[in-house]
Amino acid sequence: MQKEPTTLSYDAIVIGGGIAGGEAALNLANNGYKVVLVESRLSVGGKMIMLSKVFPTLDCSACITTPKVSEISRHPNIKIFTESDITSIDKLSEHSFVVKMTQRPRYVVAEDCTACQLCEQACPVIVKDQFQYGLVGRKAVYIPFSIASPKVAAIDIDNCTLCGACEKVCPPGCIDFTMKPKEYIFNVKTAIVATGFRLYDPTNVPRYSYGTAKNVITSIQMERLLAPTRPFHTILRSSDGKVPDKIAYVLCAGSRDDSLGNPICSQICCMYSIKQAQLLLGALPMADITIYYIDIRAFGKGYDEFYEQAASMGVRFVKGKIGKITEKENGNLTLRYEDIATGKLKEAEHDMVVLSVGVKPNKEAAGIFKSHKLELDGLSFVKQSDPLLSPAKTSIEGVFVAGAATGPKDIPDSILSAGAASTEAISYLNQKSQ
């Protein structure tokens, strides 16, 4: 263990390296402020970097995210810490916050790693790849994903057998099993919380059979199947390799349902499902795609037109609530649903079912603020203290919030809210100089 934490000073700390945090950090850095960006995972880029294409423009998501990621990772005014957890933030006075952070060891010397992947080849341990949402495996020593930033290997020490195979093949010799967590203290003048959201865990709803029926997957898994950096070269059922030709989408999986503890609408699922349906028709032109929905909420600029486009491409929209999904012997799935148009209970067979899982809050952010309370709203999202006129303000003066930390948001709205948070932060920093 290091004896003393390393102490550093910055104008601002941004908590979370997803698209909102990245955008906020860039806005501050481009105006001359020094920013420290803290990300809990191995790579910045958040959820957006994992997506296939984005609605309604169908831009390739990696192509939009990578230049931003690259810009933040090279910006002279931004310092990034990945694989790091903030343990506490104390506000001493206005414009004076003390942040304690621990960086977990990667067991790889990041500066020396060339991402040659020889260690991956040598490693004998295979576990599920969390960055591919469990669709494929990875090694215990691994590059998180192909467009990760930093693109540096890391050792999953919980699954590592310490066999030393990676150490033997690493050309620059950058594997270091003796690495210890590093402690840091940052003195900052303002903070932006951009901790994003969690996806709803559909194992909470046994009737959807997620986790038991092999060919029921989540929408984020479908994103990975469709992405340019996809694990397979086509869309297939990972259970048996069959290319699906009758795919169902179950909207509001874990949203708009009090009984599942999530009364609100997740705001993004209608649109990403419609997008995936269009992409699937591109990849599998002969496939039947059915979207089971309660209401289609295509509310943003160009969204309703995008919805109409999907319908005209042949995506079938069925206003219906899904009761139960059961697996057949051949791996196909029977959906029992209420068809609202006829008021009758019906059944339909599909060979793949995608659960359009909703947005849940990341509650961790509240716990790290010690001296002052970061208030949450009734749904456990970060509470906006003045939602109409200063949507980025929180219960703590000088702490601002960006992106989906305050509630479900699509990418354009997240980016706009990040812009708002950075404007508020700059105004706050300026108060000091006056």
């Binding site: 192909s146 949507p391 404007t423």
Partner: protein, 578 residues
Amino acid sequence: MKKKLGVYICACGGNISDYVDIERVREAVKDEDCIIMAKTTMFACGDSNQKDMEADIKENNLSGIVVASCSPKLHLTTFRGVSERAGLNKYNYVHANIREQASWAHSDNKPGATEKAIHLVRAAIAKARLAESLEPIVIESKRAVAVIGAGVAGLKAAISLARMNDDVYLIEREGTIGGKLNVLETISPENISGKELLGRLQREVASEERITLITNAEVVASRGNIGDFKLTVRISGPQGNTEKEIHAGSVLVATGFNSYAPAEGEFGFATVPNVITLPEFRKLMSGQKKAAEGGSGKLLYNGREINSIAYIYCVGSRQVKGDNKYCSRYCCTAAVQASLDVRAIAPEIENFHFHKGIRTYGKQELIYKESNAQGDVYIQFMDKKPPVVSASEGGISVKAQDVLTEKRESEVIADLVVLVTGMVPDSDTSIGNLFKLPRGRDNFYNEIHMKLRPVETVIDGITIAGTCQGPKNVMESVNSSLSAAAKSHSFVSKGELELEPIIAYVNADTCNWCDACSNACPYNAVAMVETAGGQKASINKSTCKGCGMCLPVCPSDSIELISFTNRDVEDMIDVLAL
């Protein structure tokens, strides 16, 4: 000295390599003149590849690079950055677009897409051989922003800019500020009225010394460009009009929206009595006391008590027949909120909602839930069968087939019909025309890129905020306004700006001023100057955008575009024509 060039051919993760055989492209160009290295890459823009490129440039002492990937609109600055970090002047990098122009355009013909990609890369190599180092043009940027429109978006932008120490000219065409806040009742998600919000904003504007508020004012002319806009503002007053010149480094446009005005007879509007729009309904409710706070418990319209209200949604939005195909985003929540508000005033009122699918997205769902819990009736009609409104005995009849009850026809006899009207672009198009702001297919102003540059327009230095860009509720307008403020601030905060050096220049030896170039220029960048050798064309370096419109019209071929000279383009065409 002979150039040493490197070529990178990007797979774009499959976006390119699924259709273009990038290995074949590499093979085809690797032995071209001046090429000393040619590589393929999974993602040219990826962080690790950028590092590799920097190392390549340094190790091989490259004097130019060609990147064959997506549109330069996406990554021009990315690869310019790579060049600069490697110590190579960024104008020695040349881009070939083999995604939009080859793989995506010809996904049905893989060999053809590959062949075209080879040609495009060869043409880029031809250009790279001639590329020269250039330095950006540095201009002064006036630390002031002109904010046009003093609704909630403009007001918030002005206050934020002032707090970031920029001078602000807040220009409003009406005599009072606040825009639509003046007529908004309860605004979700807070139970607060537009007037209360406006009161706060007025106090904040008044306390910011850097804000100059100009009301009854219209921007009638604009000269100059980013960093140096000169706006002529006409102010109407009791003594007639006066004109004022404003000097600003950036312009933030926040001109707002109009409420859709239904046509006569549209859902009975103006033909059936007691059919009103949502804004009119809000006005009717304004100032009425809630029943719980000592109100009469009744709502009167034209002297008669209202006991039942039918709301018809998507009036002027999501039109099957009309031009407004878009969803107006705010109106579902606004209408549901209004129906809750009216029951707070008159608890006995029955609400019937005729809708096309309620879009109370996100947390707004809670308002919809509350409305359902209060017993409001929701009837969903089909796109092609809108409700029929007619005068009837005892009230107004609204008939529709309900999707939720097997399309059975439902009829409601209501005392009042509220048409839930959407947002349309502001009918005053003068600002858009003045700055030549492009519009989207919904006719609202268009951003450059919804995700990468959501508040910028293609006109450098001009940002857009609030509902002039598209329908938004108050919170969303404010987010976009603060974002636009951040962007406008970054244009003016450093006091200077770097502009592209790729502009036109005149060969004074051969120019015999004829006016053709200045007529062709869309930016007023060409002027006539008297010289010892007679009248000549002269190009304003900070106004010229390098669009090239003046080149083909010059009869004496006296204008060239830096880095797109006749020789550059001819060399490219020679290769493409092979």
